[in-house]
Symmetry: none
Subunit: 431 residues, 2 copies
């Protein structure tokens, strides 16, 4: 079959009560757009068998492919399997492969497997389970025809779990490859160029003529959590042709912005930093106060971070700043914990103790309380100690606590990426 | 008319391309739930006259009230007015009051009014405009019957603009008062009980009879990122009555699960831990390896964490385990970095050095590489040192690196919450 028209069906009473925002629908919509599948409708229904069945039935009339999220767990409220079976008019059977998948998860986790869990091993007749790498409920893929329906056309339905992490992994691992095989005709490819150290208006101004002349590929500036991105999208009759078109535009953008492009597509700033330090044979230690472990966590999120990351200290109390990072009590007394001097001593102290190429010190006021007129909430001092000496930066962010912490962790990584990039492997000698 | 059953219709191609998340639907869903209107379905369609018309027509068959967002601007893509008129089978006319509203906005803003802007003054016959305090496009309210349709029932449709600020203001100022007058006077309230240390099937089994007997209030088990929740929802003729009904069910649930309920509604596990430690006058230090700062970050996310959190060490390298947390090199050599012995020494060492009530040690293999047959990826050892001695737990998680790290951070908090809860303020004496 060739998939050209899809619908998304979101199942979950919590969505209809407004308790959560339907980010799954946006995620799936974006993935479908990337591969050129037209999404004509998205529907949300609650955990109700009759209404979910009706929604599946209607969507199957209109679309080639229906992707649902939610309602796959083991409880009686988890009705998507039942609703799909009813909509297709086929029995719901325990599938041996699904049973194996469920058993496997419970064995690996050392959890006791009770009978109720086997609800998750049920599959509408003719379907097959999809492995869920992050949860207990397998996904389901059903493909086929039904006598006297859909004008004889073949349809496909994918059931995915509701928790976003599980849903996304399952989509990437199991659904995306299937989808690529079942697309007919042209392909859409897109590529993200990820930028740091420049605001969106400056980035846009730098490539405005390229944006205006670009119909195919298109260039779209995006901003996500402070990171500016350019999305290059090309449509062609083959993947290589689309990629070649994107290569050309990327070269034109890089001619203007290369110093600020830290990564492409899935390469986040922490990943770019870890890759760069590892390639350069450089190492890192962190002493952070207001970011409270978030900065270290961003770095250690990256597989292989242990090659460059030696250690981190979350120095909340004044005593810990001295004990863990060697900040002198006099500095704390005379300049305060949130000061350029303390940031510098944190960076230099942690670098010295860890014996690392770079040391980062971050100290600030994340709020919501603790600010003064002189040192307001949102004030953050950054220091980066390295072979070339110690650099200092100071920012004042405005927003809630979580926002200030995220922006501060981001800025520390920007400083480090820039410095490591400039030094290149030459930095090793000084380490 | 009495509104009891509503649907939301979201109009906008950007939603179907996944470029924005549909926060409007969640906002309206929550407002409808608050006043006790049942929301049975939410549908999203693109800026396409035929499909938007079909969606309005179908929603009007099922619901008493249809609220749409988007498609009210002046451009040709803004089709919601046209689609509603077509679905109702009435002409679209320029409405004098709507024209006045549009003129007013342009005059107030000092903007030039062109002919195209008067598209925004069109209203399906029988409807009336709703003042938009934050934008140019008036909303629309249409109420009435149509010959030979809806079994003679009266229906209502509200069209709201897409930008969330405009939509919300218009809803609050114009729609909410209308809705209150047209309701049978029902109110829905709901409450989340948040649970740790028990899996979803066990939680469900513990309250299965309550779930089955409960029609009003209802009890629904949910799971989000490993956390089990019970949502209690009551419908009554006043908010206090609904709250009282929920109180009663909560008491019944707590009689069985109280030891596992760490928070209600917005209270996350880290927030519950910080609150408990602060109330008890207890303090905390953390030495974490595989979670890489994430555990400290979860704690320091909480405003006021500095009252109980002293310091954290992200001990990635073996050397740092010794230098920062006092793990003996012999332990590391004989048992390895990922072992019960190392976890215990991390917890005890960090507690001793920080002089805290509790010390947590976490060491494991977050993957994707680094696992062996004996110590697989996902193996994590936890130790909690406190006045009552040191406890150890061992888990094997399966999933990607980020998942293992999140679950491990969660489990460490579960151990701590349980211990601090059991000790109560008595723990202080031993600290």
């Amino acid at each position: 079959m060739g998939v050209t028209r899809a619908e998304i069906l979101s199942v979950g009473t919590e969505l209809l009560l407004g308790q959560i925002v339907n980010s799954n629908a946006a995620y799936l919509a974006a993935r479908l757009a990337e591969v050129g599948v037209d999404l004509y409708r998205q529907t949300t229904v609650g955990d109700n068998l009759e209404r979910a069945t009706a929604a599946f039935r209607e969507a199957l009339e209109r679309a080639d492919l229906v992707i649902s999220t939610g309602g796959l767990g083991p409880t009686e409220d988890d009705l998507s399997r039942d609703a799909l079976a009813a909509a297709l008019g086929v029995p719901l059977l325990r599938h041996p492969d699904a049973e194996t998948l469920v058993r496997e998860v419970f064995r690996r986790r050392g959890l006791q497997l009770t009978e109720v869990q086997f609800r998750q091993a049920q599959v509408p007749e003719g379907g097959r389970p999809l492995r869920n790498a992050a949860g207990t409920a397998p996904g389901i893929l059903w493909e086929g025809r039904r006598e006297g329906r859909w004008d004889g056309a073949s349809k496909a339905v994918v059931l995915l779990p509701g928790p976003p992490t599980e849903m996304q992994l399952l989509f990437q691992n199991e659904v995306a490859p299937w989808l690529r095989e079942h697309m007919g005709g042209w392909v859409i490819r897109s590529r993200l160029l990820r930028i740091c150290g420049m605001g969106e208006p400056m980035v846009e101004a730098a490539v405005l003529d390229l944006i205006h002349e670009g119909k195919n590929p298109t260039i779209a500036p995006l901003i996500e959590d402070g990171e500016v991105r350019l999305r290059l999208t090309a449509k062609a009759d083959s993947a290589p042709a689309a990629e070649a078109m994107i290569d050309e535009v990327e070269a034109a953008v890089r001619a203007r912005l290369d110093d600020h492009i830290f990564g492409v597509d899935e390469v986040s700033l922490p990943a770019a930093v870890v890759r760069l330090l590892t390639e350069n044979g450089q190492t890192l230690a962190i002493a952070e106060s207001c970011t409270g472990g978030l900065l270290a966590s961003r770095v250690t999120d990256i597989p292989g971070a242990s090659a460059c990351f030696l250690w981190g200290a979350t120095v909340y109390s004044n005593e810990s700043k001295t004990v863990l990072a060697g900040v002198s009590p006099e500095t704390l007394a005379s300049h305060g914990a949130v000061s350029e001097e303390t940031a510098r001593e944190l960076a230099e102290g942690v670098r010295r103790r860890a014996g690392s190429t770079f040391g980062i010190g971050v100290t600030g006021i994340a709020g919501p309380s603790g600010g003064t007129a002189e040192k307001p909430v949102g004030l953050v001092h950054f220091a980066l100690a390295g072979p070339a000496g110690t650099r200092h930066e100071r920012f004042v962010y405005s927003g809630p606590r979580a926002f200030i912490r995220r922006r501060a962790a981001w800025q520390a990584l920007v400083m480090l990426w820039r410095e490591a990039k400039t030094m290149g492997t030459g930095g090793q000698a000084g380490a």
